[in-house]
């Protein structure tokens, strides 16, 4: 039992803003005072300190084949030592991190949940083995559907019941959490050396277009009532002028409605928010996109903020990764995966005096500032934009114009004419930034017990050495940044696991997965699956992950 005493609480889901209150924890949950015996509690005196829910990272590449190939490719990344083995595991990595390092670093920062953003369904077991090796946090994985032949076939037949059954089957087999879509149609086009440029381009070999893939998947996802919405990595990522495609894609959500959450989440929008026609007249389309998102009530986005320094581009957007390899002359890995998807990895970096990088950096911030805080979550698309350990940098920047002005002086001046960042006066409040890093991502994902401190929530709590009542967020940005970098206390499921950057206890979180099989008749699609399995290189009976192979699975049943 835990009694967090007298902290200054910010809990946007429950509309609590800077209230001095006590938080009580029992059996890993937040409980009312009546359920604990104060005398039996471990007391944490949080006087003068900020108390919030543990952070929720709704899009990060933390586990699976492409992350591991990234590590293998980059020993220069793995040479940075963070923790020497002793009571805890050795922990290494610069931006790319080993599994133990990922868990420890999230925990030190006060983050307690993270979602692997894209996993190829056929190698889900690898993703889960890696997730199971990450300590401290709760986790889940999003299987990809946007280039899966089986999905194409259901859409060709215009059979919504088949598609729903397929999704339910696939998400169960992969022990995944929802429907991720990466460059729909484009990765299949890459198998022929091409890509898609337009929502109405025909996918080679199939009678479907990206527009249809996205729309049908939204229909099926909503028909199933899955906790999370379709999670979309738009076509044309990384291409100057692509903001138009992004807006067109966002508008596909029109006509769909969900009481609890968005019907479409568009991810790492910074990479899809470029104006211009080439790298020479490249600029920001962030304002246009923010305007559209703000005008709709059923779409959310996340930033995909670049951080100056090293990074690694790794996505399921295989054709884009090859383009990046050609552009930079950098090392390049690729993985065409059965009939499901692909992936690519390219080492990159962001330099402040590079005009393109500077604009990318500005665009991420523009999106964070111009989009309503109830619609934009904070991410770096780790490790594509940079380390997740710099989320505090982004938080501080969103709250301080002065900090932004200082940073703008250090970057290439092209930012002045190519973006609106210098003229944006918006300073988000602490309440908004906590919403963007806790309650909003939890709502977007459909996790009812995460991202807030209400009764019944998981006791994932972060206490920061920052008195929000006495802090001038506009001017004391250094102090704000430092405070959010290292949580004073991180509590996971009621256990105090980190204090002031020091690991205290190693725990293992749960792996959430969604079971929507009761909402469909699987037989509707199983014959097609069996027939199509001739094109796989393994047996259908050996496809998929059984729950008992996971360390701590937690099944979320959809009824």
């Amino acid at each position: 039992m835990l009694w967090i005493k007298n902290g200054i609480v910010v809990d946007p889901k429950n509309k609590i803003n800077l209230e001095k209150m006590d938080i009580f924890v029992k059996n890993g949950k937040i409980v009312p005072e009546s359920e604990i015996k104060k005398g039996d509690c471990r007391v944490i005196d949080a006087s003068g300190k900020l108390v919030v829910a543990g952070g929720v990272d709704m899009h990060a590449h933390i586990a699976g084949g492409k992350i591991n190939t990234g590590r293998t490719m980059r020993p220069e990344e793995m040479r940075v030592v963070r923790n020497i083995a002793g009571k805890f595991r050795a922990s290494v990595g610069r931006v790319l991190l080993t599994a133990p390092a990922i868990g420890y670093e999230y925990a030190k920062m006060g983050y307690t949940t993270s979602f692997e953003a894209a996993t190829p369904p056929v190698s889900s077991l690898h993703t889960h083995e890696e997730l199971d090796s990450i300590p401290m946090i709760d986790k889940a994985a999003l299987p990809v559907f946007g280039n899966w032949h089986l999905v194409f076939k259901c859409i060709e037949e215009k059979n919504i019941e088949k598609l729903k059954a397929l999704l339910a089957w696939a998400i169960e087999r992969s022990k995944g959490f929802g429907v991720k879509v990466v460059n729909p149609g484009g990765v299949e086009a890459w198998m022929y050396g091409g890509n898609v440029k337009n929502l109405d381009d025909q996918v080679p070999g199939f009678g479907v277009t990206p527009r249809e893939i996205i729309t049908w998947l939204i229909r099926a996802n909503e028909g199933l009532g899955l906790p999370h919405s379709v999670h979309l990595h738009c076509n044309n990522l990384g291409v100057p002028g692509n903001y138009q495609t992004t807006i067109e894609s966002i508008k596909l959500a029109k006509g769909f409605k969900n009481e609890k959450r968005q019907v479409l989440h568009v991810t790492h929008v910074q990479f899809n928010a470029y104006s211009g026609s080439s790298w020479r007249d490249f600029g920001s389309g962030a304002a246009e996109i923010a305007k559209v998102v703000n005008s709709m009530d059923n779409v959310t986005i996340d930033m995909g903020q670049p951080i100056f320094g090293h990074a690694t581009a790794m996505t399921g957007d295989a054709p884009f990764q090859f383009t990046l390899h050609k552009l930079l002359g950098a090392r390049w890995s690729n993985k065409d995966t059965e009939v499901e998807t692909g992936a690519g990895i390219v080492p990159i970096g962001y330099l402040p005096n590079n005009p393109v990088h500077a604009v990318q950096w500005a665009i991420g911030l523009e999106l964070g500032l111009l989009t309503e805080s109830d619609k934009v979550a904070l991410t770096t698309d780790y490790p594509n934009g940079g380390p997740f350990t710099e989320y505090p940098y982004i938080m501080a920047m969103l709250m301080s114009k002065k900090m932004r002005e200082g940073e703008l002086k250090k970057v290439h001046q092209y930012v002045q004419k190519a973006t609106n960042l210098p003229s944006i006066d918006v300073e988000k409040t602490l309440y908004e930034v906590i919403h963007m890093t806790r309650s909003l991502p939890a709502r977007i994902l459909g996790l009812e017990n995460k991202g807030h401190l209400g009764i019944g929530a998981d006791a994932d709590i972060a206490i920061y050495n920052l008195n929000p009542l006495e802090t001038d967020f506009s001017n004391e940005f250094e102090k704000v940044y430092k405070a959010f970098k290292v949580a004073e206390f991180t509590i996971k499921g009621g256990e105090v696991i980190v204090r002031n950057g020091e690991l205290l206890k190693e725990v293992y979180g749960r792996t959430f997965w969604v079971d929507a099989r009761k909402k469909v008749d699987l037989e509707v699609v199983m014959q097609d699956v069996k027939n199509y399995f001739q094109y796989y290189s393994l047996q259908l009976s050996n496809y998929g992950v059984e729950e008992r192979w996971l360390k701590k699975p937690e099944r979320l049943e959809v009824v």
């Binding site: 980059r74 020993p75 220069e76 990344e77 040479r79």
Partner: protein
């Protein structure tokens, strides 16, 4: 000058990042210098006999140091003389000063050397003056001379400095080189793969790759990277 001599035949390799800086310390401090003996951290004095003679910024390593690694790491000045053979990673990331090895040197000699001089009277192993795993640039300055023979992978990703092998060498001399000079007095195998710049001079025989064009300067290439490196027969 500090003279260091192994006390025993080590059970496993020792990792001792000894530099001439040590010669500026008192003999007590030198004896307490921490080294790795497998997974144990021990004091230099436990494994080695140590004598101090005068104030020269010089280390004399007497005896068989072939299983003592990382000698001369990051050194900036002064001198190290190994009266015997030396272990792997000798002269790693060296910036200045001089290392003389009277016996043989093991792999990874002069990793990413930036300045100074390494002379090996005997033979050297593989990976001389190369970039470390995953790094983009290798040697950028300084001079390495091997009187005897050398192994494979010499001066890979070199961007400056000089490597001279007086005996024979193996394969992959100057792979992905950008600048600097490598000279082989004996014979060797494949040279200049994907080279962009710099010069490789060979006295004996070698294997020219099918990606170099003959000009008056010598063979120019590697055409696969639009390289302007030069390979000369001397």
């Amino acid at each position: 000058m500090i003279i260091i001599k192994p006390k025993i035949d080590f059970e496993v390799c020792v990792e001792a990042e000894l530099t001439p800086e040590l010669a500026t310390k008192s003999i007590e401090e030198v004896k307490k210098f921490k080294v790795y003996y497998g997974n144990r951290i021990v004091e230099l004095g436990e494994l080695f006999e140590i004598r101090k003679e005068g104030d020269d910024k010089k280390l004399v390593l007497e005896g068989d140091f072939s299983r003592v690694k990382w000698i001369g790491t990051k050194m900036v000045d002064g001198e190290i003389v190994v009266k015997g053979s030396v272990g792997a990673n000798c002269g790693a990331f060296m910036k200045g000063g001089r290392i003389l090895v009277e016996g043989n040197a093991d792999d990874w000699l002069g990793i990413e050397m930036a300045g100074g001089e390494i002379i090996v009277k005997g033979n050297a192993g593989n990976l001389i003056g190369c970039a470390y795993y995953g790094d983009a640039v290798g040697m950028t300055g300084g001079r390495i001379v091997i009187e005897g023979n050398a192994g494979n992978y010499i001066g890979e990703k070199m961007n400056g400095g000089e490597i001279i092998i007086k005996g024979n060498a193996g394969d992959f001399i100057g792979t992905e080189m950008r600048a600097g000079v490598i000279e082989i007095h004996g014979s060797c195998g494949f040279v200049g793969g994907d080279m962009r710049g710099g010069e490789i001079r060979i006295k004996g025989s070698f294997e020219l790759l099918p990606t170099f064009r003959k000009t008056e300067k010598g063979w120019v290439g590697d055409v696969n990277v639009k390289g302007e490196g030069v390979i000369k027969q001397i």
